[in-house]
């Protein structure tokens, strides 16, 4: 396990940075974006995630909405991490992220900043926040595949 995974200060600053300056935090009105609204299961988090996927490549990911620190930052990190990846690469990263969240073995290298959430399971009720954006993206990928 890499050092910085055990450095709370470091992990905290990653999360705060993404919470205060969320990346890709503006929805697009252009054509070609699939969109997912994630709100129904939780009383607070209410986010929209968009993605433009062309020829198996994730060209763009966007999100917006009212959300807690954990869901905002985890979605922001996801949006950076998966951007430009192929669908297959993205699926692998998503699978690794879920493995990590579930406390199972995972490949740190593909997750990069997302390892900030490796201990989110300590607060089990927040797992849904750490995965809401990822779930949305997973569904968007499925949708894009179904379209073909």
């Amino acid at each position: 396990m890499n050092n910085f995974m055990n450095d709370p200060m470091m992990l905290r600053s990653i999360i705060m940075d993404h919470y205060e300056y969320p990346r890709n935090h503006e929805l697009k009105k252009e054509d070609g974006y699939l969109q997912k609204h994630m709100a129904s299961e939780s009383c607070i988090d209410d986010i929209y995630v968009q993605s433009k996927i062309t020829d198996g490549i994730i060209e763009d990911i966007r999100f917006d909405g009212v959300a807690c620190t954990i869901s905002t930052s985890s979605t922001s990190i996801m949006s950076e991490l998966l951007q430009g990846k192929t669908i297959d690469e993205a699926k692998k990263i998503i699978a690794n992220y879920y493995q990590m969240i579930d406390g199972k073995d995972f490949d740190e290298n593909v997750l990069q900043e997302a390892i900030a959430f490796h201990n989110v399971g300590k607060q089990a009720n927040r797992i849904k926040c750490a995965t809401i954006g990822w779930k949305a993206m997973e569904e968007l990928i499925e949708e894009s595949e179904a379209k073909k």
Binding site: A39, S40, E41, S42, C43, I44, D46, A124, N125
Partner: protein, 410 residues
């Protein structure tokens, strides 16, 4: 094979409980069932170890409740061979059946349309449709019963046409205990574009249910008739129908948001039907009940009850003082009268002998026009009843006369 002696150890009510100075013989399982230790423990566990409300919990206890809540839904789905999004928690069979009539009745029924039911139905199955049919200027028609009280399938076929939008029937009737051929009924209904609403209050506790194979559209039952708590039940509905259905209750937790302009954005099914705090310990208890029944095996339960029933019926038929109404039924429901004795008086005689049976019209009040009697006695079995209990019951039957029935009052 079912080991009844072991099973009885699980039930506190079967540990030497007396009634009127006799060991209790509980034969009112159609009304409600006794609870095994595992169910009681599950309820108490909620009180002593969780305590919190479900949904949106921001702390561990509440999260654990949420998890159990969801796991129960999945296990109920598996029990019925359904998907977990098709499983709605209700406060019981009556609520589930009303929810369907309320939530989809007005969308399905137009003037001149028809709802089919039968005269053997429980009030909770037929009255909600009686009301919504009247409201929509549709009509409620009764599928005739055969002489023995079963649904007449030929008549049903003749009654089917495009105006029939709904068939609402019990899978097992609570008075006579026949199993309706639901798979056939569903296939027939679907050929005409009608939906089938199954009242499974008396079947889900006693036999395996496979909603996919049956292909019913809705199916409702109560936990308390299957070893679980009162105040909780299940409504199964096909996904596409649940999506169209309007919730009867609105309130906390079922809506994603609403605004001052009156726009209400409901959650998806099943959550949109679960407004307000749900019967949490009831759901814990239901979960334990389903696990308990599955460990025994629904097929084994059904088979055992049929055996016990056949044993009892063979002997009852030989008694001159007993009128038996349903000797050929398929389940553990025995419906009878003592000749010349009003049903309620006979029931009291059983009580005086420690035996719990029910008299009355069993809420299927219409049926009396078929049975030609204003009231009957019902003894309804469950898997924890024994051959010895049946023997005792038979001895009391044999002994029942106007005189003995009155003597219990002196």
């Amino acid at each position: 094979m079912l080991n009844v002696e072991n099973i009885r150890q699980d039930f506190p009510m079967l540990q030497g409980k007396m009634m009127q100075q006799h060991p209790l013989i509980y034969l009112d399982n159609g009304a409600t069932t006794l609870k095994p230790r595992a169910v009681i423990d599950a309820v108490v566990k909620y009180y002593e170890e969780y305590g919190a409300n479900a949904h949106r919990g921001d702390y561990d206890l509440s999260y654990f409740v949420d998890q159990e809540y969801q796991q129960t839904r999945e296990d109920v789905a598996a029990f019925l061979h359904a998907e977990s999004e098709e499983i709605v928690y209700t406060s019981g069979a009556t609520a589930g059946l009303n929810m369907v009539a309320y939530g989809i009745g007005e969308r399905l029924l137009q003037e001149g349309d028809i709802v089919l039911s039968s005269e053997a139905e429980h009030a909770s199955c037929v009255l909600p449709w009686m009301r919504v049919a009247t409201k929509c200027h549709a009509s409620l028609a009764y599928i005739p019963l055969q002489e023995d009280g079963r649904i007449d399938m030929d008549m049903l076929e003749q009654m089917m046409n495009e105006r029939v939008k709904v068939i609402a029937l019990a899978h097992i009737g609570n008075v006579l205990g026949y199993i309706a051929p639901m798979k056939e009924i569903c296939a027939l209904a679907h050929r005409y574009g009608a939906i089938v609403v199954v009242d499974a209050a008396q079947s889900a506790p006693h036999m395996p249910i496979d909603v996919k194979d049956m292909d019913c559209d809705f199916l409702a039952f109560s936990a308390h008739k299957m070893c679980g708590p009162t105040g909780v039940g299940i409504l199964y509905g096909k996904k596409a129908l649940l999506a169209q259905m309007e919730p009867m209750l609105l309130g906390g937790d079922s809506n994603a948001r609403f605004d001052v302009c009156g726009n209400i954005q409901l959650k998806d099914a099943p959550y949109k039907f679960e407004s307000g705090t749900q019967p949490i310990e009831g759901i814990f208890g239901l979960h334990a009940a389903i696990r308990y029944l599955q460990a025994i095996g629904m097929k084994e339960i059904h088979r055992y009850e049929q055996q016990l029933h056949a044993y009892a019926v063979a002997r009852l038929k030989q008694m001159d003082n007993i009128i038996l109404y349903n000797e050929n039924n398929d389940t553990g429901i025995i419906t009878f009268n003592v000749k010349g004795v009003f049903a309620q008086d006979a029931a009291t005689f059983f009580n005086a002998n420690g035996i719990a049976v029910r008299s009355g019209q069993h809420c299927a009040k219409l049926l009396n026009e078929v049975l030609q009697t204003s009231a009957t006695i019902r003894a309804s079995l469950y898997f924890y009843n024994t051959k010895e209990e049946i023997d005792r019951f038979l001895a009391v039957c044999a002994n029942a006369t106007m005189e003995t029935c009155l003597d219990v009052f002196f």
